[in-house]
Symmetry: C2
Subunit: 199 residues, 2 copies
DNA sequence: CGTGCCTGAGACAATAGTGTCTCAGGCGCT
DNA sequence: AGCGCCTGAGACACTATTGTCTCAGGCACG
């Protein structure tokens, strides 16, 4: 069944998330199967992580599709994107927490194309005036990604509930942390007060 | 000389940043010393990473001190904090990219106290009306940290220059990605348009 | 009930990483 | 030059991890 494989991939991804350098034994234990089974299904360890990352990338594509980031109104798509962002966060986390992944060109390319897709989304939002145009779209991409990740970190650390994530991410990403009052006059002395420190 | 050790720690931190699971041999090569020397100075691998992480935490404390996040006006301190944030980003990155670090209670405690210190900074900002009060301060902490990290990722990937980082982080964190126009009416249909997707 | 299939458990060799040691060479100092 | 001191290179045993194999047990199927 494909569903079995899906569950297994999910477990493996979870194990790798909590410890990217886990041994096959640990991963097998976490996934509830034996090390031998892992080998029978995936082959070696490298193939396993490659399959897992590939699956995560597929999930991301699916999430992007479901959110309609290519076609729907940007702000609506944005909300749908962060509505259910755990898989997205997990993917981003693993994909950036594994520098040695750069040695697998195919995954590297798929990750880049995923970034590019998100970037196009932000460009679209900038063009239609929803997103500010004075920041590089790639930065908006990274900024969103990192905050989705850290929001789930917040949940994992017990500082917020899973249901709070969309609201928190939405508020921080879209509106920033400045209060409305301060927002109108962000910095009376200019972009940076002239460096008081000296030590 | 303390300076030698500092340089070495910096190199080791850099090596661990580009590959958290690097072997002592790789780290030694990256640091430009022999594996034996690494052992003579730090002892085992565990002691080495512990020393490195401890040093990174010290650097963070120093950065926080220099920025004056405990006492100075929050928006000025904020600007100073992100002004020179590479070390901060590196520290945060390593400290969250190493889940097995949780097995070293001392470092865990120091990391938590660092988070708490940043959180107090945001609480102070909220109390004095600079930062919005409708978000948990701990979320502001994580949000800032993640964006500092991803900004340096942006630089590393070649999508921005190091000198852009403060401006990018400042804009995204403080003001968000919404355009001014959209900001006044963020979402005409409510917080989330009623879930068009169905598949 | 018997058969085939899949899984877990364990054993095994091969490999990579680690901790430790020794030795030779470079460098500053007297 | 002679003397320490430190470093790099290499060798070594030890351990963890990996890839592979075999065997026994469970389970669905006819």
């Amino acid at each position: 069944m494909e569903s079995d494989r899906e569950k297994l991939l999910q477990e493996v991804a979870g194990a790798l998330t909590s410890n990217p350098g886990a041994s096959t034994g640990e991963i097998a234990a976490a996934a509830g199967v034996s090390r031998a089974t892992l080998h029978r299904i995936f082959g070696g360890r490298d193939e396993m992580v490659e399959a897992t990352y590939g699956w995560l990338l597929e999930q991301c594509d699916r999430i992007f599709d479901a959110a309609g980031i290519d076609t729907d109104p940007v702000l609506e798509a944005f909300d749908r994107l962060i509505e259910d962002s755990y898989l997205l966060a997990q993917s981003l986390w693993l994909l950036i927490a594994t520098p040695q992944l750069e040695k697998v060109p195919e995954l590297q390319a798929r990750l880049e194309s995923q970034d590019a897709r998100l970037e196009r989304f932000f460009v679209r939002g900038q063009d239609e005036g929803s997103f500010r145009g004075d920041l590089p779209p790639r930065w908006l991409t990274y900024s969103l990604g990192s905050q989705v990740m850290s929001a789930w970190y917040l949940v994992g650390d017990g500082f917020a509930g899973a249901r709070d994530v969309p609201r928190l991410v939405r508020a921080a990403v879209l509106e920033g942390v400045l209060s409305d009052a301060a927002g109108s006059a962000p910095d009376p002395t200019g972009p940076v007060s002239p460096r008081t420190r000296e030590s």
